[in-house]
């Protein structure tokens, strides 16, 4: 069902935990759908993401995408982090089953939410960043026969 990379990031997730006094924290998803992702960013004065940690309530794909997303934004500038899309996370994981694509969207949203929190705390505006939705659900219905 999952690629080896997904299984690796699920079994040995990178950067699990919290950052005390983080520059930005973002929580997305909802427990109703079974996925909540929280991302912590430590951003230095030059706007470089020095550290990134996460906590996730969710399935194997949700945990693996969180782990990969933290790896992808670490050491990046804010503008570079904004380019870490759900597609980039999926590709880095060698793909996800179709029903799990929303997990990668959640990872992208979690990065954006943490950056939004950082911008608000510092009274700055990040170009290209929109206020993230707090709730991710696709609302797709199965076709009935």
């Amino acid at each position: 069902m999952y690629s080896e990379k997904v299984m690796d990031h699920f079994t040995n997730p990178r950067n699990v935990g919290e950052i005390e006094g983080a520059s930005g924290v973002g929580t997305v998803g909802n427990a109703k759908c079974g996925d909540i992702m929280r991302m912590y960013l430590d951003i230095d004065d030059n706007g470089i993401i020095q550290d990134c940690k996460f906590k996730t309530f969710g399935c194997g794909a949700a945990i693996a995408t969180s782990s990969m997303a933290t790896e992808l934004v670490k050491g990046k500038t804010i503008q570079e982090a904004l380019q870490v899309t759900n597609k980039a996370v999926m590709e880095a994981l060698d793909g996800l089953p179709p029903v799990k694509v929303h997990c990668s969207l959640l990872a992208e949203e979690a990065i954006h939410a943490a950056l939004w929190d950082y911008a608000e705390k510092h009274g700055i505006k990040i170009e290209g960043l929109q206020k993230p939705k707090a709730d991710i659900s696709e609302g797709e219905e199965d076709e009935e026969y």
């Binding site: 699990v16 929580t27 427990a31 109703k32 929280r38 906590k55 309530f57 194997g60 794909a61 945990i63």
Partner: protein, 398 residues
Amino acid sequence: MNKVIYLDNAATTKTKPEVVEAMLPYFTEKFGNPSSVYSFASQNRTVVEDARAAIAKTLGAAEKDIYFTAGGSESDNWALKATVEAYKEKGNHIITSKIEHHAILHTCEYLEKQGVEVTYIDVDENGVIKLDELKKAIRPTTILISVMFANNEIGTIQPIKEIGEIAKEHGILFHTDAVQAYGHLPINVDEMHIDMLSASGHKLNGPKGIGFLYIRKGLKLRSFVHGGSQERRRRAGTENVPGIIGLGKAAEIAAATMEERIQHEIKLRDHLIDRILKEVSYVRLNGHRTDRLPNNVNFSFQFIEGESLLIMLDQKGICASSGSACTSGSLDPSHVLLAIGLPHEIAHGSLRLTLSDETTMEEIDFVVEALKEIVARLRSMSPLYEDFVAKNNIPQEA
């Protein structure tokens, strides 16, 4: 431990070697069509009838009232759709429960689109159907009550005899989906006033692709599959002879060993339940504490999600299942867990472990230790647990 610990016997069971052995000659040697005239093939007619008789005996039913099908889903579909068709003069109302298997619920939804009215009765927090609501739901147009014998997810056993009595009093037919219960609990169709009963071979150590529907004599149900004159013209198609032989053998073994098996499974089940409730915090047992299938255990672990749990169990060789949305491909967790009143996030953290007669105490203890470790690990990664700990000033576990 490298071996597989199989605790998903509600999904399917291992076909017993004795069952396979009984079936094998009917593939390569005695492969004849029971409808053929020559003796080589027509002998198979006799063995099919012997299997039918063996099954009838386990239910206290008449032989002629057992009809072989391709399994539980076909039996459920047949019972509901054919009853609606046969009794449309009397009415178009069906009563069922909110925690039925999808073979019943989706058939009911299909029938609703055809103009049939369906009432879905609530269950209490243990998953027991509310009999007062059931009685109130009865209308002059009610033709059928269909309530499962025991629930496939949470194991709760329904008050089948009481439901049968209510149905009988009101002259309403009573069908029960006994897929999880047949071969696991004593059933008598007369004592329980059951008019129709669905069962499936692979849930009782028989083969897949075979099941039956019991239809009480006198019911006007028509054929669901049209064609040849097999099964007293009520279910066309060349008999699945190996499957029927296997189901008959499995039913015989299940009946003969039932008492012993129930004792063994209850002992292990209760040990598992007691240990988990005592040794893991923020956990809930789903389903009735005592009125439950001997082999069923279902927990909800707060703050974690079921699929993650299943994958980590799998990495330790433990096979289990969950009612989490992520295991069903939809965003909603199991309808059964929602019906017993669980909030979504707790339903997502459910785990079902279903034992067999081969499960050992060592395996159960291994599973408890594995669960303790995995639950702690997933909680350490959970933002829900983080919030809970912060809110309640709980010291972090090392």
